[in-house]
């Protein structure tokens, strides 16, 4: 029994550190008076978003696909269509507003038709379009800059530079540094200027393009 004691203590210490680290985030503190902040609903594509055009750079292992992506609100969903510069379609996904329905794959080019990639596209765009409802107990604010906020929801952390404008989505990992899945930048448009989705050897980068008719 004595033999197991050091292992037990070590395990307990690791678990304690893991639990504590999952509750605290460096640079952020819990809000003592939750009335001081009002996060309300967080959005990445605002309610008045209509459509956006992005220059696109997709890296899948060492293969590079470039082109243009249209993200457009249609009747009861959001469509994401990526094409090459020469007009060849890479993929066409539909994300119903009602999250109870699965995203629909209207088209995916055969070389990209891999379960791993399809699930990644569904999950990552799902993170952009389906944001959780937040209560103030999930919110932490910056220790030095109180306009910064961190919202914890299940295993995800949403970071905002100014209240309500999401700049990063991170995944919380026990005993490992949190991994950044999505980095965003946004100006005064109802959608992000840049979207960077990073899974190491697979990444998707979108940079807003200016073209007539694409403002909302």
């Amino acid at each position: 029994m004595h033999y197991f004691k050091p292992i037990f203590i070590l395990t307990l210490t690791i678990l304690t550190v893991a639990i504590l680290s999952s509750c605290s985030v460096e640079g952020y503190k819990t809000v003592s008076n939750s009335n001081n902040i009002n996060i309300g609903e967080i959005q990445i594509f605002d309610d008045n978003f209509e459509k956006a055009l992005y220059k696109t750079d997709i890296v899948i292992y060492s293969n590079n696909l470039t082109g243009i992506t249209v993200i457009k609100k249609v009747d009861s969903s959001i469509r994401v269509v990526s094409i090459s510069e020469m007009g060849m379609k890479y993929f066409d996904f539909e994300f119903p507003n009602n999250q109870q329905y699965e995203p629909i794959i209207h088209y995916i080019m055969e070389p990209l038709n891999k379960k791993l990639l399809i699930n990644m596209i569904k999950k990552d765009f799902g993170l952009l379009f389906y944001l959780p409802k937040i209560n103030n107990s999930q919110v932490m604010v910056g220790v030095e800059d109180k306009s910064k906020a961190l919202i914890k929801h299940n295993k995800l952390m949403y970071l905002s530079d100014s209240i309500g404008v999401i700049s990063q989505i991170k995944k919380h990992r026990v005993l490992l540094p949190n991994s950044t899945i999505i980095t965003l930048s946004k100006s005064n448009q109802p959608y992000p200027d840049t979207i960077n989705i990073n899974h190491g050897k697979i990444s998707l980068n979108f940079v807003k393009l200016k073209q007539k008719g694409y403002g909302k």
């Binding site: 470039t66 249209v70 007009g87």
Partner: protein, 202 residues
């Protein structure tokens, strides 16, 4: 299938059954075309989204096998085929591929050059049908390669009957989406120095 296709201006295209005449015209035109310099407008029609994405650029061709396909708006992107090399310039990043060593670039090169030369009669990669109306000839190509046909249902090339020059190309995908490329301000057989096909490495 009906041999009559309705044109946008209601100018009917009727299938040509005896293709010797058009074959000879295409061959004569291809033989006499040394170079092409043209602006182009590319319209990507996404039917379900009710969207048309417009790109504009410049197209150059020089015999035997030099092509420059340069997009200027909304993004800058250039493909150059010259001296057996397939070069892509994207965001000032230059990528070079040997055409013969890469099956995909070999296929793209073959399709571009085939279309420019009008060399698609008796070409095993396509089933070709020909149509005409008062002003134009239309060559409708159906890819025979399964990999190509999964992405591209038909290629339609429209020729001006007066001079046999390609005026527009339509790439139709399975479903209702298509890409329309219209050529404008064409200069045929103008002096095109080789350096127009050489990508400057900064």
């Amino acid at each position: 299938m009906s041999s009559i296709i309705l044109h946008a201006q209601n100018d009917e295209y009727i299938e040509i059954t005896k293709i010797d005449n058009i074959k000879s015209k295409l061959a004569t035109h291809a033989a006499s075309t040394v170079s092409i310099e043209s602006a182009f407008i590319q319209e990507k029609h996404l039917w379900m989204l009710d969207e048309v994405l417009i790109s504009e650029g410049e197209f150059l061709f020089k015999k035997e096998n030099s092509v420059r396909w340069q997009y200027n708006t909304p993004i800058q992107y250039t493909i150059v085929i010259h001296n057996g090399l397939f070069t892509i310039v994207n965001n000032n990043k230059i990528s070079e591929f040997n055409i013969d060593s890469n099956p995909m670039f070999r296929e793209i090169n073959s399709m571009i050059v085939t279309a420019i030369r009008g060399d698609f009669i008796n070409n095993k990669d396509f089933e070709a049908k020909f149509f005409e109306n008062t002003e134009n000839y239309l060559a409708k190509l159906v890819p025979t390669n399964n990999q190509v046909s999964s992405m591209l249902e038909t290629i339609e090339l429209y020729f001006d009957k007066q001079n046999m020059q390609v005026i527009k190309v339509v790439f139709s995908e399975p479903g209702d989406d298509f890409t329309l490329i219209t050529f404008q301000n064409k200069k045929i057989n103008s002096e095109l120095p080789d350096d127009r096909f050489i990508v400057e490495k900064k």
